[in-house]
Amino acid sequence: MTDLETFRQETRAWLEENCPQSMRSPFKSDKDACWGGRNFQFQSDDQRLWLERMAEKGWTAPDWPTEYGGGGLSRDEHKVLLEEMSRIQARPPLNSFGIWMIGPAILKFGSEALKQQHLPPIVRGEIRWCQGYSEPGAGSDLAGLQTKAEDKGDHFIVNGQKIWTSYADKADWMFALVRTNPDVKKQEGISLVLFDMETPGVSTRPIKLISGESPFCETFLDNVRVEKDQVVGDVDKGWTIAKYLLTHERSMIGNMGSTAAGQKTLAELAVDGVGLEDGKLADPMLRTEVASWVIDSIGYELTAERARDEAKSGQGVGNVSAMLKYAGTELNKRRYELLVAAYGSEGLLWEGDDRPAGALPQQWLRTKGNSIEGGTTEVQLNIIAKNILGLG
């Protein structure tokens, strides 16, 4: 037996023993996700237990080094873990901007002290992070951000406003882009800083979305003190790190093009909605559109796989993250439009516990943000045109 097969056997056995039964089904709504953090209300003992057990093994961040609490898994082992989790429809133990975004940036650019301080609590789901990038005047043109950080010797004093900060009202810490030097080219005076949301001067105000939910906020920074040792990388050199982090964010958002473990496929859901006739989806026009989507999604999934394989063998074009973000999010939007079509008016029922398609209307509306958050579709197309095709 190869090492990988042994690992698979062991992982399977461990999951069998440690994944609580109630954690072995797809999320019924976004509310089932575990986000961790100081103030998180676990929905059940099982949810807490599942997080603790996975965190103990470092499997909330399977590919991070063990010295910072991660799982230390190789890429292949990581893939096996995900496969084994999906085999029993195990829920992700932790949703975390710490793991998806700031963690990888600290790992790559942060000081040893920052790694020691921040990574283990992220793995354990003890500290929940939010992303303070966008400002009212700086969305797509992120480098135009104005929030300013004044040098006060051993610390900065930060003033400004962030917007669209997802879960700012629930987060414990923020990673934020601030202007530390207003006198140079806009990309060259930006720093990436970390601070506790309980620091005096930080306040948030929720924004209600088209889905009726309020997952993000305006964040006001009023004379906020940020210690200098909480700068990731060098002062004024935050733009490179910000972009690195955006690449991570993009691949994560782009992943929405994939059908998550245990989630029913679009085709299965369409069959639920419309039914089969002679083995074919009863609505032939819808069948064509779903088939077209399925083909495109195969192309997307295989391209994500190829990009990973090429990166590993040192081949291929960089910047594929822009393409995957573009393709994956547009695919996810199409998926939800087709679901709305498949369930018809029943799928648009806005409230109630026994809706045939559950919270589909809210989820459908949420997907509209996929091609905006983390850099819009148009910005991704600009990146491809300029960086890859050399058009200008």
Binding site: K79, A267, L281, V290, T303, S313, L391
Partner: protein
């Protein structure tokens, strides 16, 4: 877990093929064949060089004179051939002919493989009977006569039919016109009495034939595979063919795209290069994304075919479906981005569009293959 990247050998084959096609079969060669209404429809000197490089035997076992390099390898050759619109019997003979014999042939029939690999023997597959691909709708009849059979019917869209030394013909030996069972494959000598092969012309300037069979007598040895049971090997053959056509579409679309992008960087209007217009940049970026995704699908389909993966048929159909869509998009946009120049015969860009459409239709277009993917996925 096989990685979705080429091995070093496969990359070397791809590079060698690219060198050969770009030097010995550039687009100008196809143009010349077309303009001169060349009787063969390909340049024998070029074909000999391709054979010398081993391309015709890429799929054929070493025991039969080939290099057994697999579908991923042959796929690279097909893709590169697509880039220069190279005219040759490679697909008809080296892919369809060779695989038909390998899938269904008996030992003595497999002797033909050697001739395919050394380029001396050309094979063509005669399946379709109507404009749209319906491989299991077979009206051509084969009736038992003495020890053998007598064939009657008409075939159309037979790739490289007029130069073939052997035709592989599907005919009905039992059942109704739409039944999957009751179909048999026959090896037919185009020179046999009652066979007439008429070359037809298409926008791409390549070779297709109409084949008429009138009381054509063949011996029992002419049956390829089992009587009445051609459906299964035929389907496998069509999966393989579809994947290779997807590779050709990938190659020709990539080239059309590269040319359009190059044109955008040299054409000035309003005092600037048209590449500076965002309306065009986004369309180019979209096409590039589509091409990258097609590339992944084509590669995966070949790997699945080589591995005899049970997803191979589905992946081949998905690849051909996507390739047909992407080729339509990119060749249309290629002409559009060239403005008036795109409409001229003098510019090559139109040739890519004119090649794309027949290849899209060949062995089933987007609609045909999307329908199959849906069936594979249970809806």
């Amino acid at each position: 877990m096989q990685k979705l990247v080429l091995t070093e050998e496969q990359q070397m084959l791809k590079d060698a093929a690219r060198g050969l096609f770009s030097e010995q079969a550039p687009v100008s060669q196809l143009r010349k064949l077309r303009d001169e209404k060349d009787a063969l429809g390909y340049v024998p000197e070029f074909w000999n060089q391709a054979v010398e490089l081993g391309l015709a035997g890429t799929l054929i076992p070493e025991s039969h004179g080939g290099s057994e390099f697999g579908h991923v390898g042959m796929g690279q050759v097909m893709e590169e051939g697509g880039r220069t619109l190279a005219a040759s019997p490679l697909f008809a003979s080296g892919v369809l002919g060779a695989c038909a014999l390998m899938l269904a042939g008996n030992d003595s029939q497999k002797d033909i493989l050697k001739g395919i690999a050394d380029g001396s023997h050309l094979v063509a597959l005669a399946i379709d009977e109507a404009g749209r691909h319906q491989p299991f709708r077979v009206a051509t009849k084969a009736e038992v006569q003495g020890e053998g059979f007598v064939l009657n019917g008409r075939k159309t869209f037979v790739v490289d039919g007029h130069i073939a030394n052997t035709l592989i013909v599907s005919a009905r030996t039992s059942g109704g016109e739409r039944d999957e069972s009751g179909i048999t494959l026959f090896l037919v000598d185009p020179k046999a009495e009652g066979v007439s092969v008429e070359r037809t012309t298409f926008p791409d300037g390549r070779n297709y034939a109409k084949v008429t069979l009138e009381n054509v007598a063949v011996s029992a040895d002419a049956v390829l595979g089992n009587k009445d049971q051609a459906a299964s090997p035929l389907q496998k053959l069509l999966d393989i063919g579809s994947a290779h056509l997807a590779a050709e579409l990938l190659g020709l679309s990539s080239e059309a795209f590269d040319r359009a992008v190059a044109y955008m960087k040299e054409r000035k209007q309003f005092g600037v290069y048209i590449s500076s217009f965002q309306a065009l940049q986004h369309r180019a970026a979209h096409m590039w994304s589509e091409l990258e995704q097609l590339k992944s699908m084509v590669l995966k389909a070949f790997m699945a075919l080589d591995a005899n993966d049970d997803q191979a048929s589905m992946l081949a159909s998905a690849a051909k479906a996507k390739a047909s869509q992407v080729a339509e998009l990119v060749t249309n946009e290629g002409v559009q981005l060239h403005g008036g120049m795109g409409m001229t015969d003098e510019f090559d860009i139109g040739l890519f569009m004119k090649r794309a459409r027949p290849v899209q239709l060949m062995l089933g277009d987007f609609r045909y293959h999307a329908d199959r993917v849906a069936s594979f996925k249970g809806f």
